[in-house]
């Protein structure tokens, strides 16, 4: 919302500088986003008189004019259609500069010498009117510098108005705030004008409201004998300052008063209204209507229409119709000033996607008791600027009267909520400027009446906010109270997640955070079927079409991004939420995943060793380390189910439940992400499972005071027996003193019999009670060998 300093000063007296005003408004909740003083460089731009106008010899649309500046006469080539002998217009002399920065010089235009330039308002930056020369009043002194004509430049404030303050979508609303801040009151503007007597408006028009909920009040005036013409300069330029285009005097007046009062007005061409009737009714489903902007809208029965005896003529509160528009031949105006239900206007505007300055105000709430004031302000201007004759009587149908809300305010409650110590007098002092009325006041209680232009004031707490705002938030003293709830427990689920992050960073992984919205194409390998993609109804792009189904998708995207930047060796992790569309019930399954990636080389060629690439056992090692740190000792491996894995892959089962997988990504999925070399290993683990299975209570297991005894055991065994099976059986048969098993050699190939593998374990034995003797260890190893032999046919490997 843009306002100007001069305009505000028509309604309130204050002496703040623009800087101080901007700060004061911002601190009262009307955030001034920027303010600037309009600057025009009018040096060498003076009032010129056009003495003669002749056709340009070589161009149909151009004229050659003689312009008098009082100081001399100049021959100027001009292209404006409205140039005529005798007119006064701004004249930029050679050396002057116009608004777009062009410097005026003597030049030849189609073979005719031209010095200086006759200017439009747009060329001087005064309005956007560019179609013709700016026409100055006849009594303007020739040769007067334009700066003296225009007067001091105005200052424009661009204010961001929160949606609860429709009253501040107006000059008066903001002026009222200034009055409240500075402790003064509003200057009332007169709405007096001459009226034509002895005529009854009922003879001209009847208004019938069919739905008083959607239209609580409809006021209207008839203005006869109007002359449609361009607005005077002051009006066009003021609208220009606040960002509104000038159309003609009548339309500009309705816009000007809307800016002034926040009450949208609409001017109908009276002769285009059939049957001298206005019906305010709901549309029928499918009813079509063409608005002023020549767009056709298909409405439903929620929409409210303003109709004449035959047809709709305006879409209530949003935009007028093309069929009743004011045009150059309009003589009689029917001026509408109404109150429409905010919710209804918003729903209709949203449905047809048409938001106007008018709908913006109605949908936030206008003042139902301000329709006549605004209408009369406009009527006054129409008389002054369009030679209109205003009919003495007017329409005011108000079937659903809206009265001020009464609110009980407790001084005690106010101070309790704000942490202040205000007296009833302190509090009530703020009310007059805000036009908040006081019904009665006894002890702690103040019964107040909220003005109807403030739809945001309905409850005690709303009034408390007003008090806080004007008392100034700065004056409320900060208190650092002790924690209110000392005994509440930490959130273990959050803390454990942070622990996992620390583990992974400790393992040398870098943390990443990716966009969790992804394309459907990339999502496909990560969900069983397309139906399970958690799609958005209104995505911003195909690349962000839905919620990611897997953390690995994000990590592969990150790999691709870095590989495109010559960073191919990567060790990354991410923890975040993923989601699938639920197939059983309406809704989504959202859960947290931990993912890690190893890509490229683990070790580049260096002075101490050759390069090494990541392999399956690197990623398996990372998974094992993470599970170990979480106190999950022992997990099973199984077949993977996801289609993006290579054969070098495995699932992670904890207590028999599938809760993640790891391995190498296959060529297809790498190609999908445009990753050229398929040397990427990854893992994912569902966080919930990790959290549930974590070791909650760590207890110290005393270490032995006695020396441990190592024993290397090398065996030949069937190649298809899984290692974890063998280890399990070693544990089962080695007795109580085996404390550690570590595989240190593995061989499968020509040196051993087909179908066998050679494996060697380093076993460590230890007792907490005594030093183990050789016999005990031998006995244990013998038992292991016998057990493995019986179970798997394993034999000791010959040296």
């Amino acid at each position: 919302m843009k306002v100007t300093l001069k305009w505000l000063k028509e309604f309130v007296d204050f002496s703040l500088t623009p800087d101080e005003l901007a700060h004061a408004l911002t601190m009262a909740g009307l955030e001034v986003e920027e303010f600037y003083t309009e600057r025009h460089d009018f040096s060498k731009i003076v009032v010129g008189k056009v003495l003669s106008v002749e056709k340009h010899p070589n161009a149909d649309r151009l004229t050659v004019c003689t312009v008098d500046t009082g100081d001399g006469q100049f021959s100027v080539v001009c292209g404006a259609p409205n140039v005529s002998p005798g007119m006064l217009s701004p004249f930029a002399m050679n050396g002057g500069t116009v608004a777009n920065g062009m410097k005026i010089t003597s030049r030849e235009v189609r073979g005719v010498k031209s010095s200086g330039m006759l200017c439009s308002e747009a060329e001087l930056g005064l309005s956007e009117r560019a179609a013709g020369l700016m026409v100055l009043p006849e009594n303007t002194p020739v040769g007067l510098n334009m700066e003296d004509y225009v007067g001091n430049p105005d200052t424009v404030f661009d204010i961001s108005i929160t949606s609860n303050r429709p009253d501040c979508l107006s000059i008066i609303g903001i002026a009222r705030e200034i009055a409240a801040i500075t402790g003064t009151s509003l200057k009332k503007q007169k709405t007096t004008f001459a009226v034509t007597p002895q005529e009854n408006i009922d003879d001209y028009i009847k208004v019938d409201i069919k739905n008083s909920f959607k239209c609580a009040r409809y006021s209207g005036r008839l203005i006869q004998n109007v002359k449609i013409k361009p607005s005077p300069f002051w009006l066009a330029s003021r609208l220009h300052s606040v960002g509104i285009r000038s159309i003609n005097n009548v339309v500009d007046i309705t816009n000007y008063i809307m800016m002034e009062t926040s009450q949208p007005l609409h001017a109908f061409d009276y002769k285009k209204l059939a049957g001298k009737t206005i019906n305010v009714r709901e549309a029928v489903d499918g009813e079509k209507f063409v608005t002023l902007d020549e767009q056709e809208h298909i409405l439903d029965k929620e929409a409210l229409l303003i109709c004449d005896a035959e047809k709709p003529v305006a879409l209530a509160g949003i935009m007028g119709g093309l069929n009743s528009e004011v045009d150059n031949s309009t003589e009689t105006i029917f001026l509408e000033s109404a109150y429409f239900d905010p919710g209804n206007i918003r729903r209709t505007a949203k449905k047809i996607d048409l938001f106007t300055e008018s709908s913006r105000r109605f949908e936030r709430g206008t003042d139902p008791n301000g329709t006549v004031f605004a209408m009369d302000r406009a009527a006054k201007l129409m008389q002054e600027l369009a030679d209109g004759r205003v009919l003495s009587s007017f329409i005011d149908n108000y079937p659903r009267k809206i009265t001020p809300v009464e609110i009980d305010l407790s001084v005690k409650n106010t101070n309790k909520l704000l942490g202040t110590n205000l007296s009833a007098e302190n509090i009530t002092a703020y009310f007059p400027a805000l036009e908040i009325g006081i019904n009665k006041q006894e002890n702690d209680l103040i019964q107040i009446k909220a003005p109807t232009f403030r739809p945001d004031l309905t409850r005690e707490v709303d009034i408390i906010e007003e008090i806080a705002r004007l008392y100034n938030y700065d004056n409320i003293i900060p208190v650092l109270a002790p924690p209110v709830n000392q005994e509440q427990e930490a959130n273990q689920k959050v803390n454990f997640k942070d622990q996992v992050r620390h583990y992974l960073a400790g393992f040398g992984f870098k943390e990443t955070v990716a966009y969790s919205l992804v394309s459907e194409k990339l999502a496909e390998p990560f969900i069983p079927s397309k139906n399970e993609f958690a799609q958005l109804l209104n995505p911003i792009s195909r690349d962000m079409a839905g919620f990611r189904p897997s953390i690995l998708l994000s990590l592969l995207t990150t790999v691709a991004y870095n590989r495109n930047r010559q960073k191919s060796n990567l060790r990354l992790y991410e923890i975040g939420n993923v989601a699938w569309k639920d197939q059983q019930k309406e809704g989504f399954t959202e859960f947290t995943q931990i993912g890690g990636i190893l890509a490229g080389k683990s070790q580049e060629q260096s002075w101490y060793g050759p390069e090494e690439s990541y392999n399956f056992y690197d990623i398996k090692g990372a998974v094992a380390a993470l599970l170990h740190k979480c106190g999950i000792n022992g997990y099973e491996q199984g077949q993977v189910v996801e289609p993006f894995w290579d054969v070098e892959s495995s699932s992670i089962l904890i207590n028999g439940k599938y809760c993640g997988a790891f391995g190498k990504f296959n060529q297809d999925v790498c190609s999908l992400f445009k990753i050229k070399v398929a040397d990427i290993y990854g893992f994912f683990i569902n966080y919930e499972e990790l959290f549930e299975n974590r070791l909650k209570d760590k207890k110290y297991d005393p270490v032995s005071k006695f020396p441990s005894v190592p024993f290397d055991l090398a065996i030949l065994i069937d190649a298809n027996i899984a290692l974890h099976e063998i280890e399990k059986e070693i544990k089962n048969s080695a007795g109580p003193h085996l404390i550690k098993i570590r595989l240190f050699d593995f061989y499968k190939g020509e040196q051993v019999k087909k179908g066998k593998k050679s494996i060697a374990f380093s076993l460590t034995f230890s007792s907490k009670e005594c030093t183990l003797g050789d016999e005990e260890v031998e006995q244990a190893v013998n038992n292991v060998l016998a057990h493995l032999n019986k179970l798997f046919g394993a034999v000791l490997r010959p040296g």
Binding site: L480, E489, Y515, S516, L537, I540, G799
Partner: protein, 341 residues
């Protein structure tokens, strides 16, 4: 010819003695290499004994095997030690170069956004707040309605929302976590809710459709606007230093009343600079006293309880802290960026 355990053990002792004699006499690398060939090569003395192992009775094999392995290891260790003694002597003068780079480590790191978030969490946990989390896919009810934002409310315009069909949407703030928490708990409540939020913004240097927010909530008897100011000010000073100042300005949010925007003093100490657009203040986020209507949705009595809520954008704070000027950088995960943190 079958051997028995005793003879094998005896031979092991003999070999050990012989080796000890030989190794003591070595005077050079070459001497040592020769001893190694004698004892450890494929046709060496120790290997010959391993062959004999196969002829033992089954029950004797582990014991003999163990002894033999121990011998082999002892010999290997002694030889390695000897070789090293020749080597170190030489390297200390000729080969050792302390200026060669050390072995490369894989250096893990935390994402800068989450580092900032960790710091924020620490500060609030220190002030008695509990961390709560919630889903990113939310219902209209929890994201809007229970926060006093009914359908068709103009303030929904501020939340350009991604819809997912039915009642589901991507949360536009972490405030729904407040509602879930209040639905499950009775006051007193003192919590923060960090997490990802979504708004339909086209990505550019200062907008991201996905961003991280921290929302705070405190509800108890007699909680005031002064308490809100106190907590936010304490946070600012812990995050940005003792000199940090906080400014509250009136604003509007449907779920708080009175509502405020709050700013932190700029690093330029009010002199005015590019970061603060010469205002001396940095806009941080919104806050306010919980609107009684919100208490209505979670069945708290607004006559008994009051509370405050505040929000903050993690990216905004991270950008200020690390002087990052493009929000998108956080989500690109360029390792050249990540390794700076």
């Amino acid at each position: 010819m079958a051997e028995n355990l005793q003879t094998i053990i005896a031979q092991i002792s003999e070999i050990a003695a012989e080796f000890n004699k030989d190794i003591q006499q070595t005077k050079s690398r070459d001497d040592t290499e020769q001893v190694k060939v004698k004892f450890l090569s494929r046709k060496g003395v120790v290997q010959n004994l391993f062959v004999l192992l196969g002829t033992l009775e089954n029950q004797d094999r582990p014991r003999a095997g163990a002894e033999l392995n121990r011998l082999k290891n002892d010999i290997q260790n002694a030889i390695d030690e000897k070789l090293k003694s020749f080597q170190t002597g030489k390297r200390s003068i000729e080969l050792f170069d302390p200026t060669l780079p050390g072995k490369e480590y894989h250096i893990g790191s935390f994402h800068p956004l989450l580092q900032v978030l960790d710091e924020i969490k620490d500060i609030f946990v220190g002030m008695g707040f509990r961390i709560e989390e919630g889903n990113e896919i939310e219902t209209d009810y929890h994201n809007f309605e229970a926060l006093n934002i009914p359908p068709d409310h103009p303030s929904r315009d501020m939340h350009d929302t991604f819809y997912m069909g039915g009642k589901y949407l991507l949360r536009t703030h972490t405030s729904p976590v407040q509602i879930h928490t209040m639905e499950q708990q009775k006051p007193p409540i003192r919590m923060i809710a960090p997490g990802k939020c979504y708004r339909k913004d086209t990505p550019d240097a200062s907008h991201s459709p996905i961003f991280n927010q921290v929302e705070g909530l405190c509800v108890d008897k007699g909680v005031s606007f002064g308490d809100l100011k106190g907590v936010v000010q304490a946070f600012a000073q812990k995050m940005f230093g003792k000199d940090a100042k906080v400014r509250f300005r009136p604003s509007f949010f449907p779920f708080t009343e009175p509502s405020a925007e709050y700013d932190f003093s700029c690093f330029c100490k009010g002199k005015g600079c590019r970061v603060c657009k010469n205002t001396g203040w940095l806009e941080i986020s919104g806050a306010g006293m919980v609107d009684p209507a919100v208490f209505g949705f979670v069945d708290y009595d607004p006559q008994v309880y009051s509370g405050y809520a505040f929000g903050m954008g993690v990216e905004r704070i991270a950008m200020l802290k690390y002087r990052v000027n493009d929000i998108r950088i956080f989500y690109e995960n360029d390792v050249r960026f990540l390794e700076q943190f």
